[in-house]
């Protein structure tokens, strides 16, 4: 997950308005009790590539290591197609599995069906560290990528005020989940599982960050956190509302979303009102408490 953020930062620095791309990498994080070593072999372009300890990867206890294999060199060069990177194949399997989710849920069975569809042995499902979670996370990444593409290509966003931009973007993102809505509660419960919580939290944080960024936000300091938390709250409540909404084309959900976004933007006013209320209460309670309340409001 860190790698995608790093890539985004690098890419946005390099290309001002160019197309940004999330690079999807499988999560190499390891369980606490086991130590792992992982190596990826790549198609050999030069037979005598020296051994490099490669870029340090995300997790502290796993290292990536590229080897120029001595014995394996010759047979590999004789093969007609260079071996495809396994991440690409895993992504293909996950993409195909999404088509089976409606029937089989976010589960190993859907992934097995996806693997069969692509023509790869279903054993590959065992190589995903947290199986169903990998499928859900792939979907979340995919949706985020589509959102980014939409932001980059959509000019009409410039003409709108921030609250409307946020409404449009959140609605666009939630509509991506609409086809899977009958199985979405399962996806949410998978994301809430202790093993998966940190990844899903990061994905949502990135999503919220992306939306605020597109809405033209220049906040810093405490404001940045407050804005993201508020939008996170709006997004999550709308997402859950959508689960039980049976109105045609989720009309009620969008109405709900609209109200929440308006409330959020009125929050500044709400905080002001809360301050006045606290002052009034303090005045009614006497001077000693007034002093205490005064400190709380930080006059």
């Amino acid at each position: 997950m860190y790698r995608t953020v790093v890539n985004r930062i690098l890419l946005t620095k390099n290309t001002g308005g160019g197309r940004r791309c999330l690079l999807r990498f499988p999560d190499l994080r390891t369980a606490v009790t086991s130590s792992r070593f992982s190596t990826t072999t790549e198609p050999q372009t030069s037979p005598n590539r020296p051994l490099n300890p490669a870029d340090s990867s995300t997790s502290s206890s796993s290292t990536s290591f590229q080897t120029s294999s001595g014995a394996g060199d010759i047979p590999r060069q004789e093969r007609k197609n260079p071996p495809a990177e396994y991440q690409g194949e895993q992504a293909r399997v996950l993409q195909a599995s999404l088509r089976h989710v409606l029937r089989l849920g976010w589960s190993e069975e859907a992934m097995i069906a996806g693997a069969k569809e692509v023509g790869i042995s279903p054993s590959i499902v065992g190589s995903f560290p947290r199986k169903e979670a990998a499928l859900v996370e792939f979907f979340m990444d995919d949706c985020l990528q589509r959102l980014i593409d939409r932001i980059d290509s959509g000019e009409e966003l410039q003409d709108l005020i921030p609250s409307q931009r946020i409404y449009k973007l959140v609605r666009f993102r939630l509509e991506m989940q609409a086809p899977y809505i009958s199985k979405w509660p399962q996806a949410l419960s998978i994301q809430a599982h202790p093993l998966n919580v940190s990844t899903s939290f990061k994905q949502r944080a990135m999503l919220v960050d992306e939306i605020w960024h597109a809405a033209g936000d220049e906040a810093s300091g405490l404001d940045w956190y407050v804005k993201r938390t508020v939008l996170g709250g709006v997004y999550s409540t709308t997402e859950i509302y959508m689960l039980t909404d049976s109105s045609p084309e989720f009309r009620d959900t969008w109405l709900f979303l609209d109200n929440r976004v308006k409330d959020a933007f009125d929050l500044k006013k709400t905080i002001q009102e809360a301050t006045y209320l606290a002052e009034a209460v303090g005045a009614g309670m006497g001077s000693s408490l007034q002093g205490f309340v005064g400190k709380v409001i930080q006059r």
Partner: protein, 261 residues
């Protein structure tokens, strides 16, 4: 070349291994329990859960004579939980599961077949017992979804040949899993483990199985086997991708896994 710490010629190693396992076959399971304090059952459970078996799978368990791993895989595939979640369009897949147990030693295979009978799996056509050499398998290319070798690879003469045979028989997307005794690096624990290996185990072998030499050979062959990282790079050399290993009990046992793409 070395085999155990006795110097042995290559041709003789397989003969010697054959003799060792013919001697230990009948007490194999009992000795495993004694030596590992019953932990070997947990290690095999972990191996099978990493494999993630599915109905309709074609699996090859090499050097698995007494059937420990094969029975676990079969149980996992047939478990109620699995069946409840199954894809309703593919109900008959259960029938197509095949687990091939391959071992070079017929005595070990016999023990396995008897255990299958005791478990009531004698008529089950999912289990197929095959005598064969890990370095020259009789199975076709791209025919297996999974390949496991539990506590067998340190006994072969040419590890690279076994790895390339494994690569050959696996389908695209197939996984290679190897459970093996490996190297311990943790300071104090290492000394304790060495003491246990060289002093306790051969003595246990003498008392329980009446065969000190075979267990002396066993302990020495563990030390001779390449350490975790070296073995992982050998697996990568055979063509596998996503090669990883997981240490259990601080390195006493390691599960290496690789993916064929």
């Amino acid at each position: 070349m070395f085999s155990g710490f006795k110097e042995v010629r290559e041709e003789e190693k397989s003969q010697m291994v054959g003799k060792v396992f013919s001697n230990v076959a009948s007490n194999y399971d009992l000795m495993n329990d004694f030596m590992s304090g019953g932990l070997h059952r947990l290690w095999k459970d972990r191996l099978v859960s990493k494999l993630s078996p599915f109905p309709g799978m074609k699996h090859l368990d090499v050097a698995g004579g007494t059937g420990d791993v094969a029975f676990r895989i079969l149980e996992s595939v047939n478990s109620i939980k699995r069946r409840a979640l199954q894809d309703p369009l593919n109900d008959d897949l259960q029938e197509e599961t095949r687990i091939y147990v391959c071992d070079i030693n017929p005595n070990m295979l016999d023990v396995g077949k008897n255990r299958a009978l005791e478990k009531g799996l004698g008529e089950d056509k999912s289990l197929v017992w095959v005598q064969g050499d890990a370095e020259a398998l009789s199975f076709e290319d791209n025919s297996m979804d999974g390949y496991t070798i539990a506590f067998g690879i340190r006994n072969v003469t040419h590890i690279e040949k076994v790895l390339s045979e494994a690569y050959r028989v696996l389908k695209r997307g197939g996984r290679f899993l190897c459970l093996e005794l490996s190297h311990v690096d943790i300071p104090v624990f290492k000394e304790l483990y060495d003491f246990y290996s060289f002093s306790v185990i051969p003595r246990l072998g003498e008392i329980v199985a009446g065969d000190r030499e075979s267990y002396q050979y066993l302990v020495e062959s563990i030390r001779r086997f390449p350490p975790q990282e070296k073995f992982a790079s050998m697996i990568a050399d055979a063509g596998f991708q996503k090669v990883e290993y997981e240490n259990l009990v601080g390195g006493v046992v390691a599960i290496h896994s690789g993916l064929k793409i």
